[in-house]
C-alpha cells in the first residue's frame, strides 16, 4: 500500500486541474501576448483564472500577479516593499519563516537595511512582544507567515497586520501552506500582500500568485516584458495559470466542505499515535494548527531511520532535517520553539490532503508503532 502523507511538500494534481490544463499543453499552445487570435484568445483563459484566484483570497482580480510559485512571490514582495519608501527600508519577519523569506531578509540586511527577526513561543506561535520590539519607524514591511510548514501552527496574522499598520508599515504574509486549508480573506484580515503556490493545493508545480493590494506599487522582480502590466515579465505559463485557477476553484469548494474531513483524519492519526507510541509528543499541540499537519517527536528515535523503515512500507512522510552531509542541522523551526537538538532530530511530519483516506490512516497506525518500538529498542536515548 502506498500512503502519501507529505502534502506540505507537494500535492497531487487534481484530475479536474489536469483536464483543464491539457488543451494548453497540446492544441492551444499559443503565446497569449501574440497579435493573432490563436494566441491572444488565451488571455481570456488567463483572466478567468485570475478571477478564480482572487475569489479564493477575497481580492480583486487586478490585485493578482501570477508568478512561478511561492518563492518568487515571497522574493518579489520582500525585496520590493522595502524599496518603496527610502525612509522605511526596514523589514521585520519571523524566525520560522520559509527560506524564501529568510534568505530575502538576509539579502535586505546585507544591503545595510534594518532587519528584525521575531522569536516564537514554545507552542510555535509568533511571540507578539518580540515582534513589537522590532517594529520601528524605519520598518517598511512586516512579513509573517500565515501557518508554518513544519508544525502547521497558525500565526495571529490579523494582529500582526494591525501592529504593522500602526507603525505605517505594509504587511505581507506567506500563505503558501495555509491557503485552501483554512479560510482567509485579504480584506477582512487587512493584508497588503500575500503569497501562494499552486502545487501545495492540487495545482501544478511552477506557478503561483502574489496578491498586491490596489494602490501599492512595488518594483517588478522579473524584468524583460510587459506581462502582468509590467509587474512580472516572462511569457505566460498558460497551462500552469489555468491549472492554478481550477485548483483555486476546487479549494473554495472543499473549504465549504469543512476541509473534506481532513481534520477528522488528522485527529484520528494524532490520537492513534499518542495511544500506540508512548512518549510521542506533538509539536505545537496546544496551538491552533492547520487541519492537515502534525509534527510528532518520537523520543529516542532518529527521524531518518524511521523514515527509511516507513518508506519500505510505502509510507511517505518527512522530517525537518536530513543527515546527509554530516553538517546538516536539526529543524530550525523546532529548535526555535525551544526543543533541544536531540529531540528535534526525532521529528516526523505527517501532512494530509483531501485525498487522504481513513484506510490510509489506519494502515499508518498499524505499521508505525512497531517501527518506533524497534528503533527505540536499540537507542541509547530511549530511556
Amino acid at each position: 500500500m502506498k500512503v502519501y502523507l507529505d502534502n506540505n511538500a507537494t500535492t497531487r494534481i487534481a484530475p479536474e486541474v489536469f483536464d483543464a490544463m491539457l488543451p494548453f499543453l497540446t492544441e492551444r499552445f499559443g503565446n497569449s501576448s501574440s497579435f493573432h487570435s490563436f494566441g491572444s484568445d488565451l488571455m481570456e483563459d488567463i483572466e478567468a483564472a485570475r478571477e478564480k484566484v482572487a475569489a479564493l483570497l477575497g481580492a480583486h482580480a487586478e490585485e493578482i500577479v501570477f508568478t512561478s510559485g511561492g518563492t518568487e512571490s515571497d522574493n518579489t514582495a520582500l525585496l520590493g516593499a522595502v524599496t518603496i519608501n527610502p525612509l522605511k527600508p526596514g523589514l521585520v519577519t519571523l524566525k520560522i519563516e520559509h527560506p524564501a523569506v529568510l534568505e530575502a531578509a538576509e539579502c535586505i540586511k546585507s544591503k545595510g537595511h534594518p532587519v528584525g527577526i521575531s522569536e516564537v513561543n514554545s507552542d510555535g506561535t509568533l511571540n507578539m512582544s518580540s515582534l513589537e520590539s522590532f517594529i520601528s519607524e524605519q520598518t517598511g514591511l512586516v512579513s509573517i507567515m500565515m501557518a508554518n510548514n513544519e508544525t502547521g501552527v497558525i500565526m495571529p496574522v490579523e494582529e500582526a497586520a494591525r501592529k504593522a499598520h500602526e507603525a505605517g508599515a505594509l504587511f505581507h504574509t506567506d500563505a503558501v501552506q495555509a491557503v485552501s486549508k483554512i479560510p482567509l480573506d485579504v480584506r477582512l484580515m487587512d493584508i497588503d500582500m500575500l503569497s501562494i503556490s499552486a502545487h501545495k493545493f492540487h495545482g501544478p508545480k511552477g506557478v503561483g500568485a502574489l496578491f498586491i493590494r490596489k494602490g501599492i506599487e512595488i518594483p517588478p522582480f522579473m524584468l524583460g516584458g510587459h506581462q502582468e502590466k509590467g509587474m512580472r515579465a516572462g511569457t505566460y505559463n498558460t497551462a500552469g495559470i489555468v491549472g492554478l485557477g481550477v485548483a483555486a476553484e476546487l479549494a473554495i469548494k472543499h473549504l465549504l466542505e469543512k476541509n473534506g474531513g481532513t481534520g477528522l483524519l488528522l485527529e484520528r492519526l494524532e490520537s492513534g499515535i499518542l495511544e500506540k507510541c508512548p512518549g510521542a509528543v506533538i509539536a505545537g499541540a496546544d496551538a491552533d494548527r492547520l487541519p492537515n499537519t502534525a509534527t510528532v517527536l518520537f523520543r529516542g528515535v532518529e527521524s531518518e531511520a524511521a523514515m527509511t523503515l516507513l518508506d519500505i512500507e510505502g509510507i511517505c512522510v518527512s522530517s525537518g532535517s536530513a543527515c546527509s552531509t554530516g553538517e546538516e542541522s536539526p529543524s530550525y523551526v523546532l529548535t526555535a520553539m525551544g526543543i533541544d537538538t536531540v529531540d528535534a532530530n526525532t521529528a516526523l511530519r505527517f501532512s494530509l490532503s483531501r485525498y487522504t483516506t481513513g484506510r490510509e490512516i489506519d494502515y499508518v497506525l498499524e505499521v508505525l508503532p512497531p517501527i518506533i518500538e524497534k528503533l527505540r529498542d536499540i537507542s541509547p536515548y530511549a530511556k
Partner: protein, 195 residues
C-alpha cells in the same frame, strides 16, 4: 531515499549485537555533534585479549545503525590490537558500499570501539596498579600466607588477576588478595592462583 546496498539494509533492519552488557570490561559513548547521532559500545575481553562479546546501541540513521552493526561483526573475536586496525573502508566494504554522503556515519563506530578499548585498558591498568602496590608492600597477613614461597603476576584483567604461586597456603593467598583488591579497587576482582 538513499540508495543502500542489500547488505546494508539487512544490517539496518536486523542489526547484530545490539543492547548493553551487564558488566562490561570496556564501555564507550560517542556522539557526532554535526548530525546529532549517538552510539554506545560495550565489550567483554577474554584472557587472550580477544573481544569475546560486543554490544551496541545507536541513535542515528540507517547508515549509522548498519555501520555499527557491521563494526561489531568485524570486531568480534579479534584481539584488541587487531580490532584497532579496523578501518572505515573495511566497514563500508563489509556492507557492500555506502553513499559517499553517509561515510561519516561509519566513523562513529570506529571512534566508539577505540574508546571502549581505551576504557578497558584504563580499567586494567587500575587493577594492575592495585595488585602491584599490594605485592610490593607485602602486608603482614599476605606475607604470612606466602611464607617461604614466591608469588608473581601472570595476567591482569580488569575483573580478574592470575598469579603464579609456589609455597604453602594458596587458599589464604587467594582470600587475602581478593579482600585487599576489593578494598582498593572498590569492586570484586577475582584472583586465580596457579601453581
Amino acid at each position: 531515499m538513499w540508495k543502500y546496498s542489500e547488505k546494508l539494509m539487512d544490517h539496518f533492519m536486523n542489526p547484530r549485537n545490539t543492547g548493553q552488557l551487564l558488566n562490561p570490561d570496556g564501555h564507550s559513548e560517542v556522539g557526532s555533534p554535526q548530525c546529532g547521532d549517538v552510539m554506545t559500545l560495550d565489550i567483554k575481553v577474554d584472557d587472550e585479549d580477544r573481544i569475546a562479546e560486543i554490544r551496541f546501541m545507536t541513535f542515528g540513521c540507517a547508515g549509522a545503525i548498519a555501520a555499527a552493526s557491521a563494526l561489531t561483526e568485524i570486531a568480534k573475536g579479534k584481539t584488541l590490537k587487531e580490532a584497532l586496525c579496523i578501518s572505515n573502508d573495511q566497514i563500508v566494504g563489509f556492507l557492500g558500499g555506502m553513499p559517499e554522503e553517509k561515510y561519516h556515519c561509519s566513523v562513529m563506530g570506529h571512534e566508539a570501539l577505540s574508546m571502549a578499548i581505551d576504557d578497558f585498558r584504563h580499567r586494567r591498568d587500575n587493577t594492575s596498579e592495585h595488585l602491584d602496590s599490594i605485592l610490593s608492600e607485602m602486608p603482614a597477613d599476605l606475607a604470612a600466607a606466602v611464607g617461604n614461597g614466591s608469588i608473581r603476576i601472570e595476567h591482569v584483567h580488569p575483573m580478574r588477576v592470575c598469579v603464579r604461586f609456589s609455597g604453602g597456603d594458596e587458599g589464604t593467598v587467594k582470600a587475602v588478595l581478593e579482600k585487599k583488591l576489593r578494598k582498593l579497587a572498590g569492586k570484586i576482582v577475582k584472583v586465580i592462583v596457579n601453581r
